[in-house]
Amino acid sequence: MKKPPAIGKTTVRGLNPFGGERAAQLVPQARLAGPMPWVIAIMIALTVIAAAGGLALNNVASNARADLAGGATVQILEASKQERNRQATAAEAMLAEHPAVASTRRVPDAELDALLEPWLGVGADNEAVPMPALIDIRLRDDATEDTLNALRGLLVSAAPSARVDAQSSWLAPVFSAISSLQWLSAALVILLGLTSAAAVWLAARSALGANNETIEIVHLLGGTDVQIARIFERSIGFDATLGGAVGLALGLIVILFLGQRFDELGSGMMAGGGLDWLDWIAIAIIPLIGVAIAMLTARITVLGALRRLL
């Protein structure tokens, strides 16, 4: 009978860390053929879309508010054209001097005509339908009732027909609607975020469930807890990165598509709904959080399984 092979001393012990490709092959690599990256991709895509929607809505609201909060409108409601122009000129001059006012702009009659054209028809006789003179005011601060009262007091003698209104007061119902939408989208983002976290957690756990036997074998062969946990962390981290990238891409496609549709609306209000770079960073962080959750799950699950063994 042939002699058994000599078992060399070199094979007895080494200092090479057990990692990389050799260690990774201990976990079956399903990659995109397995359900886990896709679960993560879908959850990341939904979260990205919800977050983008929430952030855009936030921008719409805060841009509109900033635009309007510091704005006031003075209307000179006077039937006689000469008197109206006199009062408007006087009022504009006085307002420009006032410390609370940053700038004023008399809205030219031609612009008002253009605004009313769809309702009154081209070349309508101005005198037949008396139009107020309009002065747009940018205030240095928000248009509080105190500031508005001060301006009213200022104008009472020189332009008795003047009426001063905060621009935001016209849009109060719009703001309250936007604000409810903001709450709704914040709640949706939080709920979706939690659901995604739970889905990633469950996907990672079930991916590990099939590997309990392997965990136990490597444990009995002298693998340390950290060694074994790292193998699974790495493998699941890879799957999650794949899923996160796919999910982010899907989400971005939807966001850009929706963004284009809203741009086409050309509405002044929706124009404020673009995302700035901080928003984009926040969106880009979402898949990273997903990967972190997946890896943390792997670590906790494997260490938990190992702790049940001696």
């Binding site: 090479n16 860390p17 062969l221 002298g222 340390t224």
Partner: protein, 248 residues
């Protein structure tokens, strides 16, 4: 305390129960002397696998003391056990091969876990596969191997790291008598290099093939040791020079 006792493995009044059941091992006391060859026999359910589990550090006893390589392994913190497990080779009764690794990678696994470089393990692993008669099956998954072939992969994996203690649970249960003998020769040659060997088996014919072996007989969880040889073996049994070398 002499050198052999210090390095050997000692069980002292060890008892084991699973959950709240009765003890499956009671008052088990013995010393495994370094470089000796032991057979562990007993009826099915006598507690052989349970005793081996204590030996390969998969289970803590319910009572008693176990010392291995000069250390009390019962009070040892968990995180220090892996370095002891790496000094052992185990053939599990149910093989426990990693199902999606090739036969080659299963055999290489203990070496990789203990940090042997790829370049250093290639030849030993191939030679070992060759020797257990699986040189042509190195890329096969365990599921595509016969029971006996899986058993030989399990044995190759257990001996590849040249362990200080080899524990084998029914290692010849699925192979023909000729292969059984061949595998026994592998254990013996490892034994001659200094490895302590414990083989659990039902097969009484096997016992006679290793004349200088010591027999541990378990009966309903109790170790019979009428002559006290398992606790205080005659010096002759621990002397490598006294063994017949004409075999093989």
């Amino acid at each position: 305390m002499n050198a052999t006792e210090k390095e050997g493995i000692t069980f002292d009044n060890v008892g084991l129960r699973y959950g709240a059941d009765r003890e499956v091992l009671s008052d088990v006391s013995f010393t495994l002397f370094p470089g000796s060859f032991y057979f562990l026999t007993g009826a099915s359910g006598a507690g052989k696998t349970s005793l081996l589990k204590l030996l390969y550090l998969a289970q803590r006893p319910s009572r008693g003391a176990i010392r291995m390589f000069g250390t009390d392994v019962i009070t040892l913190p968990r995180n220090r056990l892996p370095s002891y497990r790496r000094r052992l080779g185990v053939v599990f009764q149910d093989f426990r091969l990693v199902p999606h690794l090739s036969a080659y990678d299963n055999v290489a696994l203990p070496l990789r876990v203990s940090g042997v470089r790829e370049a250093d393990l290639k030849k030993p692993v191939r030679d070992m596969m060759e020797w257990v008669g699986l040189g042509h099956r190195i890329d096969a998954r365990p599921a595509t191997l016969s029971g006996g072939e899986q058993q030989r992969v399990a044995i190759a994996r257990a001996v590849i790291g040249r362990p200080e203690l080899l524990v084998a649970d029914e290692p010849t249960g699925n192979v023909d008598p000729e292969m059984a003998l061949k595998l026994l020769r592998l254990f013996e040659s490892l034994n001659r290099m200094g490895t302590t060997v414990v083989v659990a088996t039902h097969d009484v014919h096997l016992l006679k093939k290793v004349p200088e072996s010591l027999i541990m007989r378990l009966d309903k969880g109790r170790l019979s040791d009428p002559t006290g040889a398992l606790r205080y073996p005659p010096r002759a049994n621990t002397q490598a020079g006294n063994r017949g070398d004409g075999r093989g």
